[in-house]
């Protein structure tokens, strides 16, 4: 279990180091991308930097508690209850939430505002891991069309629907995609995977047929310059920012995009500012960090003997890295513009805390696994329930340090 990962003692240290690195880059980039608009809005250019640091501190404290102090099975146990909790919360948002930029996404409690949909992403992973993990443990195959094995999917669908009417298509898509990916990993038949792809394509065609403006959305996605001052503006500005970075970028603080040219410069489009100021090599470096993070998390998952733990780690990998790559793809125009944040780099308090909470679960799974193998080493029986089939044996720990 505690095998080396690249330059690190173990994959957990790798995850922690990279997350801290990404958060540092995030801090710097959020400041550079936001000081102009923050100065205009709040009178101080440091507004978003301060808040980023504040949320990061909160998130890291949360990470320590969840990663080291609480057994992750506690969260899984509440999987079903989490659904009802977020059902109520999202209904509250839809009914009493605060509207910003035409979307009702925020709950303000005691002066602090939260975006519950960010936590829903995490909740969906926990719900899916719990129900699909127990299927996997029993050797049953999940199915999107059969009740009760599709219960988790339906629950995710309901939550995604409530997010969609805020409206927040990006988050809704992520919620649903995370659940579907968990289904796929948990053994959804390839036929159904194929059918799902077909249904999605058909849905897209049907939606375009129903409302022709969606076709122009697609055309704008393919060629934003056809309406560079209108609906293509954000994409064009994103490309201009990215492109002007060249090989090495304009260097810290010198990019022009943040001067109100690029909307959402410090949030969803932070990657464009990063590309402008750090260039192609900077962007490659950032991508590389995310890939190493993905590999480290994957390694932890691979070494996990618990089905639910494994799905949890995999779901978090999709959430943290998959979402990041989706964001980059969106910013540089491979995917249409839907609101997906870039983990650690985009500014967003709730998102940062949720993402660090997700990383914490990975660490909790790792720590639990280490504890288990140590217990086995000392010939003490583990309390962790395991597959009744017992078809495979535990991976023997090698070179335990203790």
């Amino acid at each position: 279990m505690q095998k080396r990962f690249l330059i690190w003692e173990n994959p957990r240290d790798a995850v922690l180091t990279i997350v801290l690195c990404l958060m540092f880059i995030g801090c710097v980039n959020v400041f550079s991308a936001s000081f102009v608009s923050a100065k205009a809005m709040f009178g101080t250019g440091y507004h978003y930097l301060y808040r980023y640091v504040m949320f990061a501190a909160l998130g890291l404290a949360w990470l320590v508690v969840v990663g080291w102090k609480v057994n992750y099975h506690v969260w899984l146990k509440y999987g079903n209850k989490l659904f009802y909790l977020f059902l109520v919360i999202l209904l509250c948002v839809d009914l009493f939430g605060t509207t910003t930029k035409g979307a009702q996404r925020w709950l303000v409690i005691a002066g602090l505002s939260f975006q519950p949909s960010e936590f829903v992403k995490l909740a969906v992973i926990i719900m899916g891991s719990d129900s699909l993990g127990s299927l996997l443990r029993r050797g049953k195959t999940p199915d999107l069309l059969k009740f009760p094995v599709n219960a988790a999917f339906i629950q995710a669908g309901v939550l995604a629907g409530l997010v969609l009417i805020q409206p927040d298509m990006g988050t809704a898509a992520i919620i649903l995609a995370l659940m579907i990916l968990l289904y796929v990993v948990a053994g959804l038949s390839l036929r159904e995977v194929g059918a799902l792809g077909g249904v999605c394509a058909a849905a897209v065609v049907a939606m375009i047929a129903m409302a022709p403006y969606r076709l122009s959305r697609i055309l704008i996605w393919l060629d934003p310059w056809r309406d560079a001052q209108g609906s293509g503006y954000q994409s064009v500005q994103s490309f201009v920012s990215i492109g002007s970075g060249g090989w090495f970028g304009t260097h810290f603080g010198m990019g022009s995009g943040k001067f109100f040219f690029l909307p959402e410069a410090h949030t969803d489009f932070a990657f464009a500012i990063f590309c402008q100021e750090w260039g192609f090599f900077g962007a490659l470096g950032l991508l590389f960090l995310f890939l190493v993070l993905a590999k480290a998390i994957y390694t932890i998952g691979k070494n996990t003997t618990d089905e639910k733990g494994f799905l949890l780690v995999t779901g978090v990998n999709f959430l943290v890295v998959g979402q990041a790559i989706a964001n980059m793809a969106m910013v540089c125009g491979i995917l249409p513009v839907i609101g997906v944040p870039l983990s650690f780099i985009s500014y967003g308090g709730t998102s940062l805390i949720a993402t660090l909470g997700a990383v914490a679960l990975v660490i909790a799974v790792y720590n639990d696994e280490v504890k288990k193998s140590n217990l086995q080493n000392t010939q003490v029986k583990t309390f962790v329930p395991r597959s009744s089939s017992g078809k495979h044996s535990y991976v023997r720990p090698r070179g335990g340090k203790k």
Binding site: M41, V185, L287, A294, Y298, E307, F310
Partner: protein, 672 residues
């Protein structure tokens, strides 16, 4: 659905790997796309990025200042902000608030209520303007004072009101309000000089706009500077006038009093340096404040020192007298028998009192302004010589000065003159002159016989200190010999010391002068019955004058003789100027000299003091027993204005001792 094969954790991990590979494909896509955007299209997009931040900003150079001869500001321009609003952009922008903190409000109502008191406008009117949603540009108020605009900026920022913008505009301030208003003129809102020096030197001092390449954010604000800061361009040329604002102040104040006292329709007064032609002071009534020129009556804009012509009357007599002396027709002692009236070709020339003085000299003719004597001299000269000398003295054409708006005046065509014209011209009738023309001609007598070109622009200096225009003494021609000029000065001095101009006397000073009273020309021709123009021209000290001055009152009510109304004003003005400028009396008998005050320093401790109160107001002491110089010093300490009457020791004052006055209030003090 049958389960063909059992799915377990191992397979699940394999699938995860497969999904990972799919995601990796996206990563490759992102890398390729970044390569395309940053490397292949990089330069093109970098150019786009540069183009969209590049722009031009306009730097405003404020209009050049106008200053007096000592460098005191008379007119200055500063860049001020004009506030405009785009009513369509006034809706609250949620981005300006933290989530959940955006207030429920009507921003138009809030803006109207907050801005109205600051701008001094009606809140309802503003609210109505803010609701013109079909318009995107409305001036709220132009050229705000810096204090006001700073407050507006603060209020807009604190309350997060959108849609308001500032435009830098140059605003003209006349620092001394109506001081020399007609000389300075004024500037329209488009920075175009409309009257006076502002108009005549418009090209030299007009503010400039210089465009400069710069970087702007998407909202149009300069990058690197707060858009609220205005960028000032290079300064413009400055105009220094020959005016002395202290003398001008005395002129203005005295004309105000003269207007109040005589209820004249209008008035003009000019002071010149007779040796250089510099115009030291030039005031005109009615007047206006160029800071609010739009509220003034348009007749107030007229610079009556140059822009009106009038029949000079007896003030013209020294000119004809000089002609007589030059042509050796008379000497100061030539005898003339005055019978009180003189019949010239059927027209009866009468003295002012119809009385004859009998056997007199030509000195007496000037001294007592004897019409018959002058008419007689005129007839001896003939119309041709009269006109020749009048033209030599600069009448009938403009003086060529740089004072804008000068009139040329009217002379007879000598060919058309009948004897009565010749006779009346000698007493200053039937011709029309401008005040500046008249004073300039007298200056030629005062300075020893040279006609100078008067000037009011001392210099125009570029920001780098280069002289663009420099006014200097310009001799037009020699008009009379030194000797004749000296003779005439003596005759004119006698007029003040012994003759009709006694009311212009100032104890201790030798003053030369000439009174004048002429019937006013009616608009339709002929004379307006009972309407007079009273004037007094003179210079001091009589033998080597420092100052020459002319006072003209148009249509005084009640007393109308030049000696009754114009000469006392002349005296009051001159008295203050002599004190202010420290001109020593030529005869100090009966007057404490400057030295005598200075050798008694302990005496100053006993001097009554001006009490300057915290409010900036002053309490005046009892001036009784002080000489004029001491009074003037005290008055200056209190920043008050002294109106002296008579000369010697103060014995009476108004307001009474202990009265509390504010700056620029006047104090009348009588001396004996």
């Amino acid at each position: 659905m049958s389960i063909k094969e059992k799915f377990d954790l191992k397979k699940s991990k394999k699938r995860t790997g497969a999904v990972g590979v799919l995601i990796l494909a996206f990563v490759v896509g992102v890398v390729l796309r970044l390569f395309w955007l940053q490397i292949v299209k990089g330069q093109e997009l970098a150019r786009d990025a540069k183009e969209q931040i590049a722009g031009e900003n306009t730097e405003l150079s404020p209009r050049g200042s106008i200053l007096d001869r000592n460098g005191e500001d008379l007119a200055v321009s500063i860049i001020s902000k004009s506030l405009y609003v785009n009513p369509q952009a006034m809706d609250d922008d949620p981005d300006r608030w933290e989530r959940g903190k955006q207030p429920q409000r009507n921003p138009r109502r809030v803006a109207a209520n907050l801005l109205a008191p600051i701008l001094g406008l009606n809140a309802e009117d503003l609210f109505q303007e803010f609701n013109y949603k079909d318009r995107c540009f409305i001036w709220v108020k132009r050229t705000l004072d810096p204090k006001v605009s700073a407050e507006v900026i603060k209020v807009l920022k604190e309350n997060k009101l959108s849609g308001f913008h500032f435009q830098d505009e140059s605003k003209r301030y006349y620092t001394k309000n109506d001081l020399a208003a007609q000389v300075l003129g004024f500037v329209g809102t488009d920075d175009k000089g409309l009257e006076g020096i502002e108009a005549s030197l418009d090209k030299l001092i007009k503010g400039k706009e210089t465009k400069q390449g710069n970087f702007f954010d998407a909202r149009g604000n300069l990058i690197g500077e707060s858009g609220m800061n205005s960028v000032q361009g290079p300064k413009m040329n400055s105009v220094y006038l020959t005016l002395d604002s202290n003398m001008q102040f005395i002129l203005e104040k005295s004309l105000d009093e003269a207007m109040a006292k005589t209820h004249s329709a209008s008035a003009a007064a000019i002071i010149m340096n007779p040796h250089t032609g510099e115009i030291l002071g030039m005031a005109s009534r009615p007047t206006f404040d160029p800071n609010n020129f739009s509220q003034a009556a348009s007749n107030a804009f007229l610079n009556r020192g140059v822009a009106i012509i009038y029949e000079p009357g007896s003030v013209f007599k020294p000119i004809i007298g000089c002609a007589g002396l030059m042509e050796h027709l008379i000497t100061p002692t030539t005898h003339f028998h005055d019978e009180g009236t003189l019949d010239v070709g059927g027209r009866l020339i009468k003295n002012w009192d119809d009385k004859g003085l009998g056997d007199i000299t030509y000195t007496d003719v000037i001294k007592f302004s004897v019409n018959t004597g002058m008419a007689h001299l005129g007839l001896m000269l003939g119309g041709k010589k009269e006109t020749e000398y009048a033209e030599k003295f600069g009448f009938g054409s403009t003086t060529g000065s740089d004072v804008p708006g000068e009139e040329a005046g009217i002379l007879y065509n000598p060919e058309d003159m009948v004897p009565s014209d010749v006779a009346t011209m000698a007493i200053g009738q039937g011709i029309a002159v401008s005040p500046l023309q008249m004073l300039n001609a007298i200056c030629a007598i005062a300075n020893g016989g040279e006609l100078l070109k008067p000037f009011i622009v001392k210099k125009v200096v570029s920001p780098s200190g280069k002289l663009i225009i420099e006014g200097h003494k310009q001799v037009v021609r020699r008009v009379v010999t030194e000797e004749v000029a000296a003779q005439m000065r003596t005759m004119m001095e006698k007029e003040v010391s012994e003759g009709g101009g006694k009311t212009a006397q100032i104890k201790g000073y030798k003053i030369a002068g000439k009174t004048g009273t002429a019937e006013k020309l009616a608009v339709g021709g002929g004379y307006a019955a009972g309407v007079y123009i009273a004037s007094f021209v003179g210079f001091v000290p009589a033998d080597n004058p420092d100052y020459a001055m002319l006072v003209v009152l148009d249509s005084p009510q009640g007393a109308f003789y030049g000696s009754q109304v114009a000469a006392p004003i002349f005296r009051d003005i001159l008295q203050q100027i002599l004190v202010a400028e420290g001109i020593q009396p030529s005869d100090s008998s009966g007057l404490p000299s400057v030295e005598s005050i200075m050798v008694q320093p302990q005496g100053t401790n006993d001097l009554p003091q001006m009490t300057i109160l915290d409010s900036g107001r002053v309490k005046i002491p009892n001036f009784a027993g002080l000489n004029m110089r001491q009074v003037a010093e005290l008055i200056q300490q209190g920043r008050l204005a002294l109106i002296p009457h008579g000369g010697g020791e103060a014995f009476k004052q108004n307001p009474a001792p202990g009265t509390i006055l504010k700056n620029d209030d006047t104090v009348d003090v009588w001396f004996k």
